[in-house]
């Protein structure tokens, strides 16, 4: 039970079920950690901006670094007119990053290891991209996106079909990547840590044998921290890239 690598992803109710408009709701551990994520972000950024000094202290430096990284990313990918998407990208990046990082604590629940959460984020981004594209370019946005210039008429249906599949695969790749990375990372970590425990229980020989998986678990922990940051970064930068397609269609 304790060594079951999947057990950490189970969702269970923390309160009694309640009904709103005929639907059943309950407050789960997933919801708790989503709330914790939002509270952590808000709390930290408020703390960082509490007294803005010309020479920033430690907390303020981290806050500024955080802000400037996302700001530079938005400016580089989207250009000056992408400025109005900065709050969105910053929120997405912060949510994913802090949810990933909170998941690295032992006994904590990893929100982003649930495909429901990552798929919702991904679908939200893609729906927004479609809406922005239609808002900026009208329905001809689809034409620009799915009918590339300079393609001979003979293979045009074929190319358009591939372009449509390519577009539809975006939310899938966006959501699956984050989900897959977090799920796989946590399972592997748990499996190696489980080796240490079960080998260590076997006596002296087992303890000697447990040294290798122990080092592996330590190395994997470091790798997971890297992945936690990188996946948040990739999610944010891909949001920018897709929004850029909405603002400037035509590859």
């Amino acid at each position: 039970m304790a060594n079951d690598p999947i057990h950490q992803f189970q969702i269970h109710d923390l309160t009694d079920k309640f009904h709103i408009g005929g639907y059943e709701f309950s407050f789960t551990n997933s919801a708790l950690f989503m709330g914790a994520t939002v509270l952590t972000i808000t709390g930290f950024l408020l703390l960082a901006a509490r007294k803005a000094e010309l020479v920033p202290g430690k907390t303020q430096s981290v806050g500024e670094l955080w802000y400037e990284m996302v700001h530079n990313m938005v400016r580089q990918v989207l250009g000056p007119e992408g400025k109005k998407f900065f709050p969105l990208v910053f929120s997405l990046f912060s949510f994913v990053l802090v949810a990933n990082m909170l998941g690295m604590f032992p006994y904590f629940f990893t929100v982003t290891s649930q495909v429901v959460v990552t798929a919702t984020l991904a679908v939200f981004v893609i729906v927004l991209v479609v809406l922005v594209g239609i808002w900026k370019h009208g329905l001809s946005w689809f034409k620009k996106l799915f009918i590339p210039h300079g393609v001979p008429l003979v293979i045009l249906p074929f190319i358009s079909l591939i372009e449509i599949i390519s577009f539809l695969s975006r939310p899938v790749s966006l959501g699956l990547r984050l989900f897959g990375n977090m799920l796989a990372g946590h399972i592997v970590l748990k499996v190696f840590a489980g080796f240490v425990v079960s080998l260590g229980a076997l006596g002296l020989g087992g303890m000697l044998g447990a040294i290798a998986p122990m080092f592996m678990a330590v190395a994997l922990t470091a790798l997971e921290f890297l992945v936690a940051f990188l996946q948040a970064f990739v999610f944010a930068i891909l949001t920018c890239v897709y929004l850029n397609d909405a603002l400037h269609p035509g590859h």
Partner: protein, 137 residues
């Protein structure tokens, strides 16, 4: 500090030797400047290269997932259409191959994605217009 003063004294004593000493000092100085420059460049480059390492790792993950997602979505569309029309394996196979193509296309695009363009002033960039003309010819 001792070195320059000594060479200055030599310059005063005899001219040709002094000239040689001067060029030598010049060479020494430019050599030291080069070394300093190289060291400076190295120190500037280091954090960037480690960052590039990390983003290379991210890029690898990206490419794989783009490819998998393309194939998956293609296969799912084919499967759904087959289910709808009752032509079980045919459309599934066709769309799986199309999805494979889309995955490759996505991957190529993700790999070739250019670094941010410098000028974003015009809403209608010239290259598409040029291509449009070409198409009409």
């Amino acid at each position: 500090m001792a070195q320059p003063r000594k060479s200055k004294g030599q310059t005063a004593q005899d001219d040709p030797a002094g000239m040689g000493d001067l060029t030598e000092r010049l060479k020494d100085l430019s050599g030291r400047i080069e070394a300093e420059k190289a060291e400076y460049a190295e120190s500037r480059k280091l954090p960037e290269s480690s960052m590039g390492d990390a983003s290379g790792y991210a890029k690898g993950y990206r490419l794989v997932s783009e490819f998998v997602a393309g194939t998956l979505v293609g296969g799912l569309i084919g499967y759904g259409l087959d289910h709808l029309f009752g032509t079980m394996p045919i459309l599934f196979i066709v769309f799986l191959l199309l999805g494979f193509g889309a995955g490759i296309l996505n991957m190529a695009r993700a790999a070739n994605r250019e670094p941010p363009a410098q000028d974003r002033s015009g809403t209608n960039p010239p290259p598409p217009a040029a291509l449009d003309d070409e198409e009409e010819d």
